[in-house]
Amino acid sequence: MNLTLLFDVFLIAALLLVSWRLLGASDLFQATVLFISFGLFLSLAWIRLQAPDIALAEAAVGAGLAGVLLLGTFKGLEPEEDREGENLSSEACRLDPISPCPGRAHLLLAFTFVGSMTALLLLAVLDLPAEGDGLTLLVFQSLDRSGVEHPVTAVLLNFRFYDTWLELGVLVAAALSILCVRNRLDLRELRPSKVPDVMLRRLVMGLTPIMILVVVYLLWLGDHAPGGAFQAGVVLAAMLILLWFSGHASITSLSRILWLFSLIAGFAMMLLAAVITASWPEMRPLEFAEEWSGAIILAIEVAATLSIGVVLSSLAILSLGAVED
């Protein structure tokens, strides 16, 4: 009896069951809760697929941020009276009053599309060559020239620095877009509630130092093991959101300019590196001298952690704080 196989079968069964119920749920709250548990199973699946970096990220995002955003959005949709879930869902999914809610034809169309996509992808995946392992070998061969020991970090912050830099730009664009939607210039005055909650304040006071430690630990791990700026940034974001919920000083008390500085720190740091290397005559753009690359990557990771934390917590706070506006 192969136990690994049994575990995988259970995991697949759980994933399919949860996603099926998730799609079929008429109650938005149930769907939200199912989505949170889906993240948990997914994280287990990433571990079985031997992608610990993604499992870490999924753990942080799935357990923390996704729950906050979805539950907060649910609170925003919830009508004044505590209605039963059933009547709520059909009202709540209407953003655009002109277009009707999904009807039978929509569902049929969606199922046909998804069905044919699945079939097509299955065919394509079965057709893939079995032995291909991409650029793994090349990455390991070039690892000693990259300045770090963990291959994922080397790819993200050295070999494909340009992509990571642009991804941080995507985060900046997302934060600015939400700001536009909310018609705001910064996060000040976004207070969660006037009611003090002693229990929550104590809890957050206790958790915050541990969270800071974990942020630093994850950041330090990124150099040689799964971890790094993104995972650390998500934990930082969770910490900032908790502080905000408990009424402590959080990013909402930052002045506009300080908040913007931390928002773009990662993007600007990488931009600075790009500008310096591009104007350096003997170097190619984005090329780091080997002896410096470790230090440069560390500095960029610190800035990126700050940015990711601030952007993600701002997104959550802006969408949650909206209810009061």
Binding site: L34, G76, D82, M211, G227, S246
Partner: protein
């Protein structure tokens, strides 16, 4: 010993699947959240067992993140602006 840990992990995963019933039937929002909380703890236990079984320390970090961030969703649920409990307090 690895096999044993893996077996216990399988068992815990099975209890999680059974526990899903509470998420499906509810009836209260709190019931569903409590069930998810149980999943979280069970998931952490599974992760720790897997970490031991496959000898992968990064899996333990994932477990650490899950426990650290477990309170977040519930805090969001009870403290979001406009939440019902709040208005009555």
């Amino acid at each position: 010993m690895e096999k044993f840990y893996l077996g216990v992990a399988c068992f815990l995963l099975a209890t999680m699947i059974v526990g899903l019933v509470r998420v499906f039937v509810g009836p209260d929002q709190e019931d569903r959240l409590v069930a998810v909380q149980l999943f979280g703890t069970t998931g952490v236990a599974i992760l720790l067992l897997l970490a031991e079984a496959f000898d992968a320390s990064s899996v333990r970090n994932a477990a650490l993140l899950f426990t650290l961030l477990a309170v977040l969703a519930v805090v969001a649920f009870v403290r979001s602006p406009g939440s019902l409990g709040e208005r009555e307090e």
